[in-house]
């Protein structure tokens, strides 16, 4: 698509010619059909947010176990990296056998991808706890569980949240691949734009996906500021 044509579409006056981007968005936002942009946006949110949190839920215990039993780390990280490397299409083909053309078929691989990033984050985060801090927690009389919850995990938060930011942005972007099986959220707009060559759907898709990614990233940065004032204070001095 030539950029000249793009600009022309955006700027073309309201007339009987092809509709502008905003006209098109307004007309398709809430049509009441399943493929209204509003519904696609909701689908997109579900299919990207569920894997982010599911990945955290899976990566946390696996990361903790990898720290506790060092030998577990390489095999665990290896398995998730291999899954990460598999092309999406055959993965979908395989999963369709179990979950059909549903959102689950998109959510599951994205969760695995998230784990591939978050397991090392959890391990590195716990590794960022200085040894003298861990030792002094032991010496003060923390039980292992309490030490984990009150000392080690809080200190690991900045590193884990940095991983979460990567996962959030990549999940939001990767959901569109689900369009291959008719579950792409906003990604569906790209197929639509391709099927009947027409720019606005693609443009709306891109803008909304980028916006979603920015908002998610911003929220995580906010969470980081609220959860770890001691890191912000460090930067200030």
């Amino acid at each position: 698509m030539a950029s000249g044509a793009l600009v022309a579409t955006l700027l073309s006056p309201v007339s009987d010619g092809p509709p502008t981007l905003w006209e098109w968005l307004g007309r398709n936002w809430d049509t009441g059909r399943v493929d209204s942009i509003k519904n696609l946006l909701v689908d997109h949110l579900i299919m990207s947010l569920v894997p982010i949190f599911a990945a955290l839920v899976v990566a946390l215990p696996l990361g903790l176990a990898s720290v506790r039993w060092r030998w577990l780390y390489q095999p665990t990280a290896g398995v998730f990296n291999v899954i990460y490397a598999l092309p999406s299409l055959p993965v979908f083909m395989l999963l369709i056998q179990f979950s059909g053309l549903s959102k689950t078929t998109v959510i599951v691989p994205l969760t695995f991808y998230g784990c591939a990033v978050l397991i090392p984050s959890v391990v590195d985060g716990l590794g960022s706890v200085p040894d003298h801090v861990r030792q002094s927690a032991v010496a003060m009389g923390f039980t292992p569980l309490r030490r984990l919850l009150q000392v080690e995990l809080p200190i690991a938060v900045p590193v884990v949240l940095a991983g979460m930011r990567v996962v959030a942005v990549s999940s939001i972007s990767l959901v569109s691949v689900g369009a291959l099986i008719g579950q792409g959220g906003l990604g569906m707009l790209f197929t639509r734009a391709y099927q009947n060559p027409f720019v606005p759907p693609a443009l709306v898709g891109i803008v909304l996906i980028v916006l979603l990614a920015l908002v998610a990233d911003g929220l995580l940065v906010l969470a980081q500021r609220l959860l770890t004032p001691w890191v912000r204070a460090r930067r200030a001095t």
């Binding site: 002094s136 927690a137 032991v138 003060m140 000392v151 200190i155 001691w230 001095t237």
Partner: protein
């Protein structure tokens, strides 16, 4: 000299007495075969500072950590007031033993006040009381209360170390373990932290085991000093004074260094020092004298300076020591400071009580060398 908070309030009321720590033939062998501590038997008495000193790798940290079970002994027993620590659940044991380490080990994600309140929180005190107690301790170790709301990295190394001491004292444990707590700060800060510890100890009377590789620190702080040699064997256990005057063997002698004699001076009292009281004269004195030096004093007995027979209008520098309280080291220091070669003895109030001449100092040294 006990402060009020030790007396009758809250959980302080259940405060245990200080405790005696006993090493009974303790050996620690690490899985790789390293023998870090070799048949160690000694006692760290109640209310005293016992210092473990020795070169790096001689097993000081290992010995210390066996007391609170961060490391378990391979053989032998460690007793707290006669009770084997091996029988006590580690977290419970540790909450009753303060621990201070070199890098302070403060929790970076918690404010200073919450760092200090760590053990009270673990013991289930209510938050407000724990924080009040933490603020008390903050002041007690000489820090400004505004520091309470800061995070550890906003404090200097010396301040962090003070917080480390405050945290160790928060639940008022009878026992304090300190592993090279002042090694990472600069010499001036180190000296003030050492003085602070001695001051606190004179009020608290904890049973303290203090680990250092610095013999000067050991001699300054220890009521008793255990010198360890590499391989984890006890070379000598003695009061600092005895250590300096009667080192058990060549290893200890070498470890004490070549200025061992000079260090001994700080353990020789000035109490019996022979003083001359006939050398003091009032300001403006100009009469004839046989003495080469005279000490000018104010009407209320404060020293002004020395004048010589040759040049009676030039008042020269003087040095003082507090008779009976200061050691011979201070007395000699005072003598060397003045061209007269004499040291001015003053009482606690700073009034001149006499002058120690070279002859008098000589006599006292000769006596100390004999005894």
């Amino acid at each position: 000299m006990r402060r009020s908070w030790q007396g009758g309030r809250g959980p302080c009321r259940e405060r245990k007495r200080s405790r005696v720590i006993t090493f009974d033939d303790v050996t620690k062998r690490y899985p790789d075969g390293t023998v870090a501590v070799d048949h160690l038997s000694l006692e760290a008495p109640t209310g005293e500072i016992t210092v473990f000193v020795g070169p790096s790798g001689c097993g000081k940290t290992t010995s210390l950590r066996m007391i609170n079970r961060m490391i378990d002994a391979s053989e032998g027993k460690i007793l707290l007031d006669g009770e084997p620590v091996q029988g006590i659940d580690p977290p419970t044991l540790r909450r009753g033993i303060g621990y201070v380490i070199q890098q302070a080990g403060l929790f970076p994600h918690r404010k200073i006040v919450d760092n200090i309140a760590t053990v009270p929180y673990l013991l289930g005190w209510d938050k407000k009381k724990a924080r009040t107690r933490a603020m008390e301790l903050l002041e007690r170790v000489g820090l400004d209360p505004v520091m309470g709301e800061r995070y550890p990295f906003q404090l200097s190394g010396g301040q962090q170390q003070r917080v480390g001491v405050a945290r160790a004292l928060a639940a008022d444990p009878p026992v304090l373990l300190m592993d090279e707590p002042f090694s990472a700060v600069d010499p001036i800060v180190r000296t003030s932290l050492q003085d602070e510890l001695l001051r606190l100890q004179s009020e608290l009377n904890k049973t303290i085991v203090f680990v250092t590789h610095d013999i000067d620190e050991a001699i300054k702080l220890g009521d008793r000093v255990a010198v360890l040699r590499v391989g984890g064997k006890l070379a000598q256990l003695a009061a600092p004074k005895t250590l300096l005057s009667e080192p058990a063997d060549d290893f200890v002698r070498e470890f004490l260094g070549h200025d061992r004699g000079i260090r001994r001076l700080q353990f020789i009292s000035t109490e019996g020092l022979r003083l001359r009281t006939d050398l003091t004269v009032p300001e403006g004195f100009s009469g004839p004298t046989d003495e080469p030096w005279l000490l000018v004093v104010t009407p209320d007995d404060r020293p002004v300076g020395w004048i010589s027979r040759e040049r009676p209008d030039e008042v020269e520098q003087y040095g003082t020591f507090v008779l009976g309280r200061d050691s011979m080291r201070s007395a000699l220091d005072a003598a060397l400071l003045s061209p007269s070669g004499c040291a001015v003895a003053v009482d606690e109030a700073g009034k001149v009580v006499g002058a120690a001449t070279r002859e008098a100092l000589d006599e006292a040294l000769a006596e100390a060398a004999d005894g």
